[in-house]
Every structure is written in structure tokens, then in C-alpha cells.
């Protein structure tokens, strides 16, 4: 069965915007904009979205006073004059070409909207379904949408509530039982346009038992406007599944991106997530990993390279609910000029999660005299037979190593770059897909210049 996305019998799933509580606020305005565009959603989702909207009207946007947003005042970035509607698709096939990845299925989203005409899905195995989550054919809908908000709904994060309330666009991928999708799937997300825009992609990945997938996501911004992307992705990896998930954010200093991820990892399942963030005006990544299955394994890797007055905030939450699981985290920051970085990694080990092996490491190099990093490991352990540790280091480039390189004829600037690239390599090496790794390495090369 091959799916095309342009058939009229697809149902759009979107909130009807009828908010009961406080609908006069920004959520009401944004919901109104979303609704006008897309019409009615399926009734079962209407309820979920309404609930999220009314919850959001109570919490409002997170700000400095919220402990989790202490250093990232979303309220200051995302203001009422942002418009939650999209511009037309002003990108053509030729200009999209450089962003596509070879030997991969490319699903293109421009300003949130799935652009079938720019995507190439010829390589997608017919066993795998992938496309626009909110245009899912009825035959598939239950399988996909039954899980909508099952993970994100556990969170009281205001940005997750906002995303759920406004959800109207995004991708889904479903890999059936015992199927190994050897062709990687690349989601290309490009924003463009002028003015102040709020985009709200909502994605869902559902991997059935014993299936395998490589999912690569790239986020770019080509416009001159102020763009705020509030993305949320739910990823369900059923028993013995294996997911490689690589995310590259290169949206430029004028853009803001709040990315929420919810992994649910089944028994014996594995995930390896690598998030690489460059030069974001404001980047906030919330990576939530929920491990209810025994013998599961989660690897989270992050690299952030900041300059100017960029701001990047990486939050991770790994929740161990089952015994004999392991999680490893490695986040590395290169922070220049007056940029600010944040790392907050929380490991929560529930009482039943005996024999948990959890490790977390955050290493930073400050290349600017006024650069800062706020790093906070948080271990909450309620089981007694576990191995949990964390470590964090922050410093300048090693002067001895620099001099060693210079003494061999390598000029200081290049020597610094060589050392920074070596520092970054540990994270980029966690990307197993060569094509994607090459793209990331090229960007590391650019951004360490």
C-alpha cells in the first residue's frame, strides 16, 4: 500500500477553537487563526485539543519564574503579535534541492505545511507509512491517532499544551512489526517569510514491535522574519524496536525554536538521539525519555555551537520505570562571544527500576570572554540498586594543546578550530548515517571558523 497525500478523502484533524476558558487571550487568537485555515477536526481529537487549550489558558507561556524556564524566558520571546498562520509556499523545487538528502526519503514541510510536490518518497518501502499526520487516511488513522498525545499528554509543560492545542500540521511515520526500514527518512522543515510567525509542527512516530528506523530531521529558516517554531514530536518505540533519530537545527540568529520530544521506549528497545544545534537566536530543546520496558537503552547526544548573543537551552528528562535499563547522555557546548548556554539534565529512577545504569555528561568550552553556561544535573533516585552518575566540565581551550599545534606551523585560529572540531567529534560520531553526519560535520566546520 502506497500512500499519496493529496487525495481529498483525507481528514484534517484540527481544533475547532471553541475554548471555554479565557478564550480572549493569545491562545484564543492563535486558535482562531488555525481554525479559520483548516476547518473542523475529528471529534476524538477535538476534546484533547480543547482540554490542552484550556489548560494552557491557565498556565500561560512559561517565563523566568518557572524553575524549568529560569534561563529561557519564553514569554519574552513569543509575544502576542505573533501570527499563527502560514504564508504560501514560496519555495520551488530548484531552491529546495540543496537541502534534500540523497539515499533517503525526503518529506518536506514548508512553514509547517507538508509539501508533497517538493518531497521525494519513491524510496519509501510500501510497508512503511509516512506523511502528513493531519491528513492521515481513514484506514490508518486509528493506528496513528490513537496514540496522539499519549506521551505529550503526560506532561504539564505549557509549550506542550500550546502545541497540542494548536496542532494542525506535522509528519507521522509508522513502521510495522518486524520491519526494518533500511532507507532513512529525512524530514526537512523550512520556515520562510517576513513578519512575526508562530509555527507549530506536531509529529508522531510509531514503531511497532521489533522494527527499525533511522529518522533524520533538519530545521532551516530562509526568511527574514521573526519565526517562532514550537515543535513537538511523540515517538513510540515498541518492544525490541530500534530508532536512530538525528536532529539538526540551523535556523539562524533571527529565529526561535522550542522543540519538545517524547520518547516512549518498550522492552528491549533502543534509541539513539543526536541533536545538533547551530547559531540559534533562541533554541530550547526538551528531550523527554520515558522507559517503561525492561532491558531498554536510550542514548541522548547533543552538540550546541553558539556565537553572537545566541541562546540554547537543552533540557533532558530520562524517566526509568523498569528494571535493567540503561541511559547515557552526552551534551557538549561550544559557546562564544556573549552567547548563553543552558544544560539541565534530569534522571528520575522510580522505585521499581532496579539495576538502572544511567550516566550523564555535559562538557562545555567557552570561547568567548563573556560567554556563559548554566548547567544543572539533577538525579532523583528512588531505587537502591542502581548505578547513576553525572559529570560536567567547563573551560577554555587547552593552552598547552593550542601551543602544541601552533608549534607545528598551524596558525592560532586554525589550531582553535582543529581543537573545537575534535571536541565536537565525539557527538557527531554518534550519527551513524554517513550522509547526515557529513552535513553536520560541514556545518561544524563552518561554525567553528
Amino acid at each position: 500500500m502506497t500512500l499519496t497525500q493529496e487525495k481529498p478523502d483525507y481528514k484534517r484533524i484540527v481544533s475547532d477553537g471553541q475554548i471555554t476558558a479565557g478564550s480572549g487571550g493569545i491562545i484564543g487568537k492563535w486558535l482562531g487563526e488555525v481554525k479559520r485555515r483548516l476547518g473542523d477536526s475529528a471529534p476524538e481529537l477535538k476534546q484533547i485539543q480543547n482540554n490542552a487549550a484550556s489548560e494552557f489558558t491557565k498556565t500561560g507561556l512559561p517565563g523566568k519564574k518557572d524553575e524549568d524556564y529560569k534561563y529561557t524566558n519564553i514569554r519574552q520571546y513569543l509575544q502576542e503579535d505573533f501570527i499563527a498562520s502560514k504564508d504560501g509556499l514560496n519555495i520551488d523545487k530548484t531552491s529546495i534541492a540543496p537541502y534534500l538528502l540523497k539515499d533517503a526519503v525526503n518529506l518536506v514541510f514548508i512553514n509547517d505545511r507538508y509539501a508533497a510536490e517538493l518531497s521525494n518518497r519513491e524510496m519509501l518501502p510500501e510497508e512503511v507509512s509516512a506523511g502528513d499526520l493531519f491528513a492521515t487516511p481513514d484506514t490508518l488513522r486509528d493506528k496513528v491517532t490513537d496514540n496522539f498525545n499519549k506521551a505529550a499528554g503526560r506532561s504539564d509543560n505549557p509549550m506542550a499544551l500550546l502545541n497540542t492545542a494548536l496542532a494542525a500540521n506535522g509528519f507521522y511515520i509508522r513502521v510495522p512489526k518486524n520491519f526494518s526500514c533500511v532507507v532513512p527518512v529525512h524530514i526537512l522543515h523550512i520556515t520562510s517569510g517576513d513578519g512575526k510567525r508562530l509555527y507549530n509542527p506536531r509529529n508522531l512516530v510509531y514503531m511497532e514491535e521489533n522494527s527499525q528506523l533511522t529518522l533524520m530531521e533538519s530545521y532551516y529558516n530562509t526568511g527574514k522574519g521573526r519565526i517562532f517554531t514550537n515543535s513537538a514530536t511523540e515517538l513510540f518505540i515498541k518492544d525490541n524496536g530500534a530508532l536512530e533519530n538525528y536532529i539538526m537545527q540551523d535556523e539562524g540568529a533571527g529565529s526561535m525554536h522550542n522543540d519538545l520530544r517524547f520518547y516512549t521506549i518498550g522492552r528491549g528497545a533502543k534509541t539513539n538521539c543526536v541533536t545538533v544545534s547551530f547559531n540559534g537566536g533562541m533554541l530550547r530543546n526538551d528531550c523527554n525519555v520515558f522507559i517503561p520496558g525492561e532491558h531498554a537503552e536510550a542514548h541522548l547526544n547533543g552538540l550546541f555551537i553558539l556565537k553572537g548573543n545566541n541562546h540554547t537551552d537543552n533540557h533532558t528528562l530520562v524517566e526509568h520505570l523498569a528494571p535493567n535499563c540503561s541511559s547515557k547522555e552526552l551534551y557538549k557546548g561550544i559557546i562564544g562571544d556573549t552567547a548563553t548556554g543552558v544544560f539541565n539534565g534530569k534522571i528520575y529512577v522510580h522505585p521499581q527500576a532496579q539495576k538502572t545504569d544511567a550516566y550523564q555528561s555535559n562538557k562545555n568550552v567557552l570561547t568567548g570572554d563573556k560567554a556563559t553556561i548554566d548547567t544543572k544535573p539533577q538525579l532523583e533516585i528512588y531505587a537502591d540498586d542502581v548505578r547513576c552518575s553525572h559529570g560536567t566540565t567547563t573551560g577554555k581551550l587547552d593552552g598547552d594543546a593550542l601551543f602544541y599545534l601552533e608549534s607545528r606551523g598551524i596558525n592560532k585560529q586554525l589550531a582553535k578550530k582543529v581543537l573545537l572540531q575534535a571536541f565536537a567529534k565525539e557527538v557527531s560520531d554518534a550519527i551513524k548515517n554517513e550522509t547526515f553526519r557529513a552535513v553536520v560535520e560541514r556545518k561544524i566546520d563552518d561554525y567553528t571558523a
Binding site: 587547552d398 594543546a401 601551543f403 602544541y404 601552533e406 607545528r408 606551523g409 592560532k412 589550531a415 565525539e426
Partner: protein
Amino acid sequence: MNQMLEIKDLKVSIEGKQILKGVNLTVNKGEVHAIMGPNGSGKSTLASVIAGREDYTVDNGSITFNGKDILELSADERAKEGLFLAFQYPVEIPGVSTINFLKTALAEIRQYRGQPPMEAKDFLKLMKEKQKLVEIEANLTGRSVNEGFSGGEKKRNEVFQMAMLEPALAIMDETDSGLDIDALRIVAEGVNKLRTGENAFIVITHYQRLLEYITPDFVHVLYKGRIVKSGGRELALELESKGYDWIKKEFPEPAV
């Protein structure tokens, strides 16, 4: 002109403490100079200052290399001019492969000298040739720079890099310490093969042994920041048998 390096009345301090207190030294093409002296006398400081380490303050004096005032040059420019320092304590650089490191260094040096970039296959050929010269195992050069190397392996890697970069003047700071007896001979023979009559060596060492292999033209004793004695190779033998006490007696703490 034969003169390669000329150091005149060099005074150097770090963190307000004067380490070198007026060093004079001239090295001509083709020569091997040995510098000996008790611990803490300033040998490594002298080597680092020549190589261009910025942490030191040059209070007085000059260093010219092939007629150029190199105190005006950055460390990498000095290397490009043909200087090389084999470190007493080579630095581990995780994540930087030895091959890429040397490729980058050679490319930089060649560009500075107006030479065309080296072809990949020529570079590999050169690597092989120099590996053989110092008998360094290929698996070492395949790893990150010095990462996890043993003390002796690090020293051998210094000489390997020296062989790769073919400097006009190489300063070897205690390259012999940490090398086993066989390695010492191999490395010394390697150095001898690199001698051309056009290049020169400054060998810093505590032991006469290395000088049995690499015959010095001059031996200097650096003591408390000054070269207090210079002689031929027999001076090294004398030091080996008598130690430094006689020097120390002869040169008590100089009045400041």
C-alpha cells in the same frame, strides 16, 4: 652566511619571576649544540621562548633566526620559518588524528613557503618513509595525537613529527628521557640520518648517553638562567662523572 640562530642577552620572566637572566647563544648551520644543566635551571623555558610560547615575557635581548627577528613572529610563523620543538612533555590531543594533524601542519608550512599542496599519495609515501626512519608503529600514527601513548611512544612521536616537517633548526627537549635503550639508539640514528649540514640541532639532555650517538659540536651548561660554561663534547663527560656541584660552587647565587 652560516649563522642560523643568534640569542643575545635574553632575559625572560614568567609571573614576575625572572627565569632566564641573560642568555647568549649562537648556532650555525650543520652544528649540534647540547644544553645541560640542573633541574629548574631554565632549559625548557629557553626552548619554549625560542618556539614562541606566549606565556613568557621577554624583558630584554633578541633572538634572530636566519637573520629574522623571530620575537616578532607567532609560534606558527616560527615553525614555518623552519623551527621545531620536540616537547619535554608532549601534549595529548584527543579527537585529532595524527595524520590529519600532520597533513594540516605540512599544508600550512608549504603554503607559507609558496610551495604547492602535497598530493595525498605523496603525503602517505612521506609518512611511510619517516615512520620507517624512527621505527614508529603505524598504529600509533593512526591514533589521536599522543592520546594514551606511553612516555617513550610520545618521545618517538616527537621525532617522527620532526622527521615529517624537516625543520632547519630542531630543539629536542629531553627527548631521550623515557626512551628505552633500544629506542634511544633508534631515535638517535634517525636524527643522525636527518642531519644534512644545512640544518642544526639543539639537544637538551641530562645524560651523556644520547650524546654518544648524536655527537655535539658544543656543550653548554645552563645554570640559574645563564649559560655558565661552554665546551666541546668532553664537557658532557666531565659533568657525567662530577655532577653539577663544582659548577654550583664556581657560580654561587649571583647578586641581583
